[in-house]
């Protein structure tokens, strides 16, 4: 069983909402999965102002839901599963990864690793944990630069290969890697 869309956006923060607004304006059928509120709501009139606006414009908003896994075949994402919808996968032609960094759990970490949990995207980080931070709190922190690797076109890399229909925008993209151009959708 599946729900079908043109584009499914994972992440309801500033980057995800901006992408959704842009894409639904161009007439696409869009769904956005937003686990929890984003820190970027502090600039909004009400906590859900941006998601509510998207809903009014016809975007399917999965609020408080979390992408828990994806089906990737032949270098393309086929569908994404969420916690609340269970077996009812979200199918789309294109997917946008906009889950942010650690706070928003776009990136997860343990003592030795940092990973991207939905698509298993390749993550740029130092394997030596003692290099993740600068001992001076006020200095730029290396972990703030970590994120997923993207191709020159801004498609996400997984296992070194390009995932042809998965774009990445916002803070999830590692510093120095290209952001996706949503105009191409």
């Amino acid at each position: 069983m599946a729900m079908k869309f043109d584009v499914v956006i994972i992440g309801g923060g500033w980057a995800g909402c901006s992408a959704a607004a842009q894409l639904c304006d161009s007439g696409l059928k869009v769904a956005i999965v937003s686990e929890g509120l984003s820190l970027s709501v502090s600039g909004s009139a009400t906590p859900y102002a941006r998601l509510a606006e998207l809903q009014r414009r016809g975007v399917t908003v999965l609020r408080g839901d979390r992408a828990v896994g994806a089906l990737i075949e032949d270098g393309r994402v086929k569908s994404v599963h969420t916690r609340n919808l269970g077996d009812d996968a979200l199918q789309a032609d294109r997917f946008v990864l906009a889950t942010g960094k650690f706070f928003s759990r776009g990136l997860l970490s343990d003592k030795e690793h940092i990973w991207e949990p939905v698509f298993g995207a390749d993550v740029e980080y130092d394997p030596d944990r003692s290099k993740w931070y600068d001992p001076d709190f006020n200095k730029p922190q290396p972990f703030m630069k970590y994120g997923v690797k993207t191709s020159p076109d801004g498609f996400v890399l997984a296992g070194g290969a390009v995932v042809g229909n998965l774009l990445a925008v916002g803070e999830i993209v590692a510093e120095g890697y290209p952001q996706s151009d949503l105009g191409k959708l």
Partner: protein, 399 residues
């Protein structure tokens, strides 16, 4: 399952708590939940009776970027640390009556016209306000003179190839059999016969929030046993109430500690089931061409927590001639029995204010929602008719 320190103290939950906004005595989800829990683990004396103000709407959990089970933590603390008498306060009799939906319903149903009439009388309302602590402005849902279960017994549901089981809930049974009738009509139109569960008790949501956790647990066991039999017979268990569904799927395990994982996936709202069957091509519904209705959809808080409003919305959108607007998700303020209590009435109405004005200004004929207590609150506060999506679907059927 205690994930209190996944809380990063970002305070996003406090932005969406409806109670915090109107009642300064409520410390809010962060303090009542993970902050308080750390101290309660040290010493139960840190239990704060202000936790009784929690509506259990779970909006905090929906907003939490860390997946902290804030609402569950608060509910569990109320059960574990708050002596029941203290949670119930001075209105023990009233709370017991409000929580005992089954018992009160079976007494009231046979004499429904009398009860309904009496409940509307001003002197009775005054007595209920003064003595029982039920607010005088509050409209009681009318009792039906014929229970759904009595009506259903007379229905011939034989001859179908396939069956679903129906958990109708107290509201359908005692107050509003029309919804149950609509459900049966819809299922039959989809080619499915309907079975009642062997035994059905109130899901227990009102018992839990009024401090009767043990009773809720024993009723839950009865419901789960019945569901197991239905599932063993290959039937899905369908519902028409988002709160009953949420309670039995999630609160049974997370708050009451009942084991429900064997039936959880088979228990779902009728709209989700229908959407899936239609998407798979197994069910086709034919709708009337002349059906016209302007509808706004209100996402009940527990529906939002489950994330299943997408199914009810998608089902309504299948009806030609139905013009649908989805309202911003806001709490209506009733929170089950909370809003009936006279000490909560003002808060209840203040919380619902935003939703009421959105509804008033929408120009819609009908408000659709999957929760019966939202229905009472919205009908009392806006004068609009509120229908369950199942009723609208049944009415729009070409049958």
């Amino acid at each position: 399952m205690n994930n209190l320190e996944q809380c990063l103290k970002c305070n996003l939950c406090t932005l969406v708590c409806p109670m915090m906004e109107v009642n300064p005595a409520y410390p809010g989800p962060k303090k009542a939940g993970p902050d308080g829990e750390r101290y309660r683990l040290k010493d139960p004396a840190f239990f704060d009776y202000a936790l009784k103000y929690c509506l259990n709407c779970k909006r905090c959990e929906v907003a939490c970027p860390s997946d902290v089970h804030i609402g569950d933590m608060i509910q569990s603390a109320r059960i574990k640390y708050g002596s029941q008498a203290h949670i119930r306060g001075r209105n023990g009799l009233r709370d017991w009556a409000l929580a005992s939906t089954d018992l009160v319903g079976s007494v009231a149903s046979p004499i429904a016209p009398v009860v309904n009439g009496v409940l509307k009388m001003k002197p009775v309302k005054a007595v209920m306000h003064g003595v029982l602590g039920v607010h005088k402005n509050r409209t009681f849902p009318a009792y039906s003179s014929r229970k759904f279960s009595s009506w259903f017994r007379k229905q011939d549901q034989s001859g179908f190839d396939k069956y679903v089981s129906y958990f109708h809930g107290c509201y359908v049974n005692y107050n509003y059999p029309e919804l149950g009738k609509a459900f049966v009509k819809l299922m039959n139109a989809a080619g499915y016969g309907v079975h009642k569960l062997e035994k059905e008790k109130c899901c227990g949501v009102a018992l839990m929030s009024n401090g009767f956790a043990d009773k809720a647990r024993s009723q839950g066991e009865v419901n789960l046993a019945s569901m197991r039999k239905a599932v063993a017979a290959g039937e899905q268990v369908l519902t028409t109430s988002s709160t009953c569904t949420f309670t039995m799927r999630d609160e049974y395990a997370d708050v009451l500690g009942l084991r429900n994982e064997d039936v959880r996936d088979s228990l779902m709202l009728a709209t989700k089931w229908l959407y899936e069957k239609i998407s798979e091509g197994e069910v086709k519904l034919k709708f009337r061409k002349d059906f016209r209705m302007k509808v706004v959809y209100h996402t009940a808080c527990h529906m939002q927590k489950m994330g299943w409003q997408v199914y009810s919305i998608a089902m309504l959108q299948m009806i030609p001639g139905l013009e649908l607007t989805v309202l911003d998700q806001n709490c209506c303020g009733i929170a089950g029995t909370f809003g009936f209590k006279k000490e909560n009435y003002e808060w209840s109405q203040e919380i619902g204010g935003k939703l009421f004005s959105d509804i008033e200004s929408s120009g819609a004929d009908v408000v659709a929602t999957d929760c019966e207590t939202c229905k009472w609150q919205i009908e009392m506060s806006t004068g609009k008719t509120v229908l369950n999506p199942v009723e609208i679907l049944a009415e729009a059927l070409e049958y």
